[in-house]
Amino acid sequence: MIKFIGAGLVVSGAGFFGVTMARNYARRPWQLRWLQSALQMLETEIAYASSPLPEALDHVARSCHHPIEILFQGAREELKEREGVTVAEAWEAAIKKFQPVSALLSSDIGVLVSFGRGLGRSDREEQLKNLALTREQLRLQEVAAEAERVRSERMWRILGFLVGIAMVFILY
């Protein structure tokens, strides 16, 4: 009886590990998708409301999911609190805070960094071009991340259980 319970625990433990790993693969495409919609909101702020950047970043931060809000809130705080900081510097500092809590890869972060270099420093048309370009790049990253997810998610999910069952067989 105890053996059966033990075997059940091993299989479900390994299975849970696999599912967690699979979920990690799912987080990256989600976050990339949220980032795109956050940038879409920023675009509205810039194109129609002409809000100053700190205000625009604040509005966007309020209406996005965790952890994306850390990026926008962070940039806003840097801009408000550090004297003489440029937008690009504030944005990069915010990315440093955001990266550890995100599921993004360095190629995704690279897209964000180069977006920050143009942010705020030109007229509206240029800003909208920069936003559109960045959204397109993030979309491509998302497609790749999604393909990766489909491949790895199923593998990890099945692998977890299989390893659990294999361990049970070995232990007997």
């Binding site: 810039i46 002409s50 100053p52 700190p54 003489g84 705020g120 420093r121 030109s122």
Partner: protein
């Protein structure tokens, strides 16, 4: 002793205003240098000129100074600090809060107003759209003009502006060449008329202010940064003629004040105000009645004797000197010039 302590507080106040309202918009090396210039120079500082690849220039009173990295003022451009492209870019980011795209109107006009009513002018390459300036890019020069409100500078002319026995206020035109304190005087007039003048036993009246170039009230996001009085409504950034008519309809002012009239549509708006029984106070560029007569719209206004008091400003005894006051018929009301009450360059 008393005067000394007063001037010391004035200097301290100017230094803090400078540190809080101007320095945060300047990029690092420049900010450090300006932080070290003597307080007495800050007291008289009027302009900071930033031109790409050229020396950083300060206009203190009537003199221009270069500045070195230690913050000393120099007469000669040797060893002085030169502005880099990086400095200009950073300044632009700082004054726009990193939102150059939100400043389309300002870029088209070539200036913007900072908190505190200070003015930043800029030039660069104009981008045209159907022959009109759409925006500026490659900005190469910036000019910070420090706003100084001089409360009480209208004291000396106020007694001339009231009709006898509480009959109201005369239509008044202030005529002045640039840099003689025209806007400063108008701002103080508005403030005093709006608050009421205790010494003359006049109660305050509702004043409407059309501030087309945000110079009088120095509005920052619609809120006046200068004290323009408790009964003043400011229509910021609005064309004068249209603004005057809007104010009559919306805010029922007794007095309407505006800066630099002179176009044909202004004359039409003025007539409208007269029929509505509203007092008009305005300014115009010029130094004599003959000057004004050369401009058709103004000639029409003068020939019709719209203004009952015309105040001439000049610099014969320092900025803000009242050179003369005449009534609508051309009769002189002043026999000798009055010194300006500390308008701009205080001694």
């Amino acid at each position: 002793m008393a005067t000394l302590s007063v001037s010391v507080t004035a200097v301290i106040k100017d230094t803090t205003v400078f540190a809080e309202e101007i320095l945060p918009f300047l990029p690092q090396p420049v900010r450090g240098m300006l932080n070290r210039i003597p307080p007495i120079a800050i007291d008289k500082l009027e302009e900071i000129r930033i031109r790409e690849d050229q020396p950083l220039l300060l206009r203190v009173g009537d003199k221009h100074y270069f500045i070195n990295e230690q913050g000393s003022l120099l007469d000669e451009p040797r060893e002085c600090y030169r502005i880099s492209n990086q400095d200009i870019q950073r300044t632009l980011q700082l004054i726009s809060e990193g939102s150059l795209y939100a400043l389309e109107e300002e870029l088209r006009n070539g200036y913007l107003t900072l908190r505190g009513g200070h003015r930043v002018g800029f030039v660069g390459r104009a981008v045209l759209d159907k022959g009109r300036v759409k925006t500026l890019k490659y900005i190469s020069s910036l000019n910070f003009r420090l706003a100084r409100q001089v409360k009480g500078c209208a004291d000396k002319i106020l007694p001339f502006l009231f009709k006898p026995s509480g009959g109201g206020i005369y239509h008044t035109l202030i005529v002045s060449p640039p840099q003689c304190g025209k806007t400063t005087l108008l701002r103080d007039l508005v403030r005093q008329l709006s608050n009421g003048v205790v010494s003359l036993r006049v109660a305050g009246v509702n004043v409407g202010l059309v501030d087309e170039r945000s110079e009088i009230a120095g509005c920052f996001r619609g809120k006046p940064q200068n004290d323009v009085g408790v009964r003043t409504d400011v229509l910021d950034g609005c064309p004068k003629a249209e603004g005057m008519l809007m104010l009559i309809r919306s805010m029922s002012p007794r007095v309407v004040a505006t800066d630099e009239i002179g176009r044909q549509e202004d004359a039409v708006a003025l007539e409208e105000m007269l029929h509505a029984g509203i007092t008009v106070i305005s300014t115009v560029h010029g130094s004599s009645l003959e000057d004004l007569g050369c401009r058709p719209a103004l000639r029409y206004i003068l020939e019709n004797r719209v203004f009952e008091r015309i105040v001439f400003l000049g610099r014969t005894m320092g900025p803000g000197t009242v050179e003369g006051i005449i009534d609508g018929g051309g009769k002189k009301l002043l026999d000798r010039p009055l010194t300006g009450t500390g308008v701009k360059g205080r001694q």
